[in-house]
Symmetry: C2
Subunit: 394 residues, 2 copies
């Protein structure tokens, strides 16, 4: 992690024994004083008990800590599941010496297995006692499942001469799909802001970041993005212009994390930006971009570094929104590969194939119909995706 400190926040992560391999699996993010909190949660109708629990907690407006376990989603675990979520909150509150109602809970991992909460209760005192302002990497590692790298981003902004910091930590890897995007993401900031403004800023930021990424079209039962703002930098969002300045920094953190999540998607070897423009509306553009970004045929062609634009145009045509069949242009970065729905020949294909060998590139689809446009991020679909997901529980 960069040496940027978000004032008044501490974090840490330990191995409590939930993960069979002995990796870190329990983390806490803590603010020295109660913070304004806001969250965005999964739209999956099957939800882990932590999701409903946190929604309730955030109705208070304030929160001071979040305890997260990986290795077990504590989802589809019935009444015991909710008791275990409450036990996690109690345990953290007691270890930190704060009100139980100020503790949020998150879980990620396998669905349907009872959570061995006693392992968590045993580990919390040591974890809570060891939190530091430099513990974000440990925290980021403790929330990983099939992620290969911890994901932390810090950005700073200035309001009326006062510097504030926004630090975000995320985990992703599989089951990443818009609405709501993703995985777990915890953001802390030392800016001062009202809950109402924070909620709106988070919703807008998530829409521009985690709701624009896809790895495999699945959406988890446990997804959440939570932000805590403790005001300790002295910078305060009090004017309308401040909102925009804060939004920009928050978006920057969320978009950076979202890209890191796609790039570290299960088995992913390439980060691909799918831009759709010239659509009938922004919504149509999004539906088309999402269809292309989720097409297994398109994604396996990216993996094979094959400029197989026929699969892209095939996905455009089946997206379910109006397109003009004979006016579609497709670019790989700035190489035009398809003009008016026809290939531009072998020379263009050779150039496009070079683009596909890069680890990051953009595919632009211009429908030449209207002014609707959007961008989503996806990854390629590799042999390792199947290997990882065929073996996940074993």
């Amino acid at each position: 992690m960069e040496e940027i400190v978000c004032k008044g926040f501490k974090a840490g992560g330990v191995a409590s024994g939930l993960k069979k391999n002995g990796n870190k699996d329990l983390g806490i993010l803590y603010s020295e004083k109660p913070a304004v909190g806001a969250g965005v949660f999964t739209k999956n109708l099957i939800q882990a008990s932590s999701v409903g629990y946190d929604r309730e907690c955030l109705n208070n407006g304030e929160c001071q800590a979040i305890i997260v376990n990986s290795g077990n989603a504590n989802c589809c675990t019935g009444e015991r599941g909710m008791q275990d979520t409450i036990a996690m909150a109690k345990s953290a509150a007691s270890g930190l010496g704060i009100e139980e109602s100020l503790v949020l809970v998150a879980s990620t991992g396998v669905i349907g297995e009872p959570l061995p909460v006693e392992k968590i209760e045993t580990a919390v005192p040591v974890l809570a006692g060891g939190l530091t302002s430099k513990g974000f990497t440990d925290f980021a590692e403790s929330i990983m499942t099939t992620d290969t790298v911890p994901k932390i981003v810090s950005k700073q902004g200035e309001l009326d001469g006062k510097t504030y910091t926004v630090t975000g930590v995320a985990k992703g890897a599989g089951m990443i799909q818009p609405n709501m995007a993703t995985m777990l993401c915890f953001v802390c900031t030392d800016i001062g802001v009202s809950q109402d403004v924070l909620k709106k800023a988070l919703a807008a930021g998530v829409d521009r970041s985690f709701n624009r990424i896809t790895i495999d079209g699945d959406t988890s039962t446990n997804d959440m993005v939570v932000v805590m703002a403790n005001g300790l930098s002295g910078a305060e969002v009090s004017k309308s212009i401040h909102k925009n300045i804060f939004q920009e920094v928050l978006d920057d953190v969320l978009i950076s994390l979202a890209k890191m999540v796609v790039k570290d998607g299960e088995g992913a070897t390439k980060l691909v930006e799918i831009k759709v423009k010239g659509a009938g509306s922004d919504k149509d553009a999004y539906i088309i971009a999402d269809t292309v970004a989720n097409s297994n045929l398109v994604k396996t062609a990216f993996f094979g570094e094959d400029a197989n634009w026929g699969r892209i145009i095939g996905a455009v045509g089946r997206a379910g929104v109006p397109v003009s069949p004979n006016t579609i242009d497709i670019y790989f970065n700035d190489i035009i590969m398809v003009k008016n729905s026809m290939g531009c020949g072998d020379a263009a294909e050779a150039e496009a194939t070079k683009v596909l060998k890069e680890s990051e590139f953009a595919v632009t689809i211009d429908l030449n119909m209207g002014t609707g446009e959007t961008t989503v991020f996806t990854c390629d679909f590799s042999l390792d995706y199947v290997r990882i997901n065929a073996d996940y529980r074993s």
Copy 2:
């Protein structure tokens, strides 16, 4: 192929040189006399020229032959594409000595490359001259792309003491997804039937077969199911009861072919029936079944023979239709694995894992909400799917 002969039909297939590997790539299915024809076509908005061409032809009500090439989809090939489609029809008409307007055309293969139609024109005279009533296997082989086996089904029925035959040939493998399902399928029958009745029977049959299967969620630009009925058996659909009898045999052929297509899906090692019942409506049941059947996480778990029901219930929850989160039961064949949205324990899991080792099994999801139900067929998602699709054009 079974030794059932569909009266008055001949077929054949040859290698014209479209496929680099020298496999058969050009076939003709022919009726000795003009037949009543009906077709169901892809709903993809990007369509091969053959699709529009055949729609027009079938407006005549009659057709007598269909010429099919594999190895090149002749899609996104502009005006030249339509000229090449017409050239294929002309060439077949001339070789067979019939009216050009009675010839349907189909293509399957790579999108966006010009069709080397001269290869087809060169091969047609030999192909047309060599058609026989035993040429269905050659025909079935000539339409294959990544299929590993030719797919032919013949069934017989009786109307007022007269036996009639329905023979269908299909190709599938990738880009298989409902609406409309699939790939190419050509059905011939020696029953006598009006075009109106034939159209309705085909639409109903496709809805119960090819619109219930999925391999990878993609839908092709070239998909079609065409049926030709020449009446040469003497059996004639003239009463309402006849319609039902014919529908049953037609459905039997289409459903058998649809299952063969899924079973031979790209890289597939398992055929899985996804049954959803107790839904709010049949439509809701279908949306849920389709979401589960297309979930990469579910399909990779099938490949890994992992009874990971958490991924199934996760897919149910994100399908976008109402479900009651705590009343879901899930069965693997007749083993109950989940009751009221909670796992039934290690013993049930051990039994379910045995089911998953079979090459064909059913997953039943009971939502316990209403009376809506449906069944779809899917396959597992294997390493070979990625291998096949990463390398397809090379």
